[in-house]
Amino acid sequence: MAKRLSPGVHAGSMADIAFLLLIFFLVTTSIETDAGLDRMLPRMETPPPLIINERNILRISINDSDELLVEEERVDMGELRDIAIAFLDNGGAPPGNKGHCNYCEGLRKQESSDNPLEAVVLVTTVRATSYGGYITVQNELVAAYNHLRNREAQRRFGEDFTEMQAVYLNPETPEYIRASLREKIREIQGLFPLNLSEAEIK
């Protein structure tokens, strides 16, 4: 008795079907992962007016053609990062006084900021300032903070702050690593808090 063989299924068209599916997914999806600059807006309730010493404020204004004015002086975008680092890292409060900054490595000028906790960077824009210019300024300021935070994290933990933060924010990092990182990140953020302020546009 001859064994009956069922005819083989022709698999040639399977490739076509799979190609169709592939093309469908290529068209309807996108690969981009979003990245950007995180920022917290201030609350709506008006806080009691803070009295900040003028030396603790770095005033930056951007005009409608994306030109910078830092402390009433025209500067180039490229210089902003160094100016911000010098300002934040100044540590002008003399040793022994309240607010003396023992981890600052700046020039300790009297007319610049007392310590990084008090130092505030104030960014003013006009309505016609371009968003691109604004982001460049914000990016340079974050870069200045990251530079200082990295330096401090290197000294204390031998790691970069930005590196620790990236690992911490990665959802695949196991919880026990995150817990130890959280402490370190908090400590560094406490040393150089991100004090960026914005004046309202009139």
Partner: protein
């Protein structure tokens, strides 16, 4: 008359295509896993600015998107060339932002409602006036966490 037929020259065996579907399926699965569905068609120009100090936005379910930019060519006749806000699929006014955020927030799970981030996808040629209006609206509804979504790159390229 020979017993062994000589093969004719150029008579190559056909390449088997049986494994082709497997290869294509592999590609398919690759794309299915690494990509995400587009959720809305853009009606505004959206060339994001560049920044180098970026943080990745993980967890898509915690993000509300706002698009701002000039209307694209086909909408310019109706809506002009001034920067507009796009919420979901339609153009909106600054005053609609607050209610949109509240509405989106209500859609999310209870435990996520306090950790939502608003991602501002703004064209680099938009002006700061509209951004600061949006920020005021966001403050009114207490959506304080924002992310200025950017491309990764040299920030000085924004200035040209």
């Amino acid at each position: 008359m020979s017993k062994f037929n000589k093969k004719k020259d150029g008579d190559l065996p056909a390449v088997s295509t049986a494994s082709l579907p497997d290869i294509v399926f592999m590609l398919l699965f690759f794309f299915m896993t690494v990509t995400v569905m587009k959720d809305s068609t853009l009606k505004v120009e959206n060339t994001l600015p560049n920044a180098s100090e970026v943080k990745k936005l993980e967890k898509k379910d915690r993000i509300i998107y706002l698009y701002v930019g000039k209307p694209t060519r086909e909408y310019q006749k109706v809506f002009g060339t001034e920067s507009k806000i796009q919420l979901n699929d339609k153009f909106a006014d600054v005053s609609d932002v607050g209610s949109y955020i509240l509405q989106e927030r209500a859609k999310k799970a209870q435990e996520l409602q306090n950790v939502l981030t608003t991602a501002l996808k703004v064209d680099k040629n938009a002006n700061m006036g509209i951004i600061s209006d949006i920020k005021q609206e966001l403050r009114k509804v207490n959506a304080l966490k924002v992310n200025y979504t950017t491309y990764e790159g040299d920030a000085f390229r924004n200035l040209q």
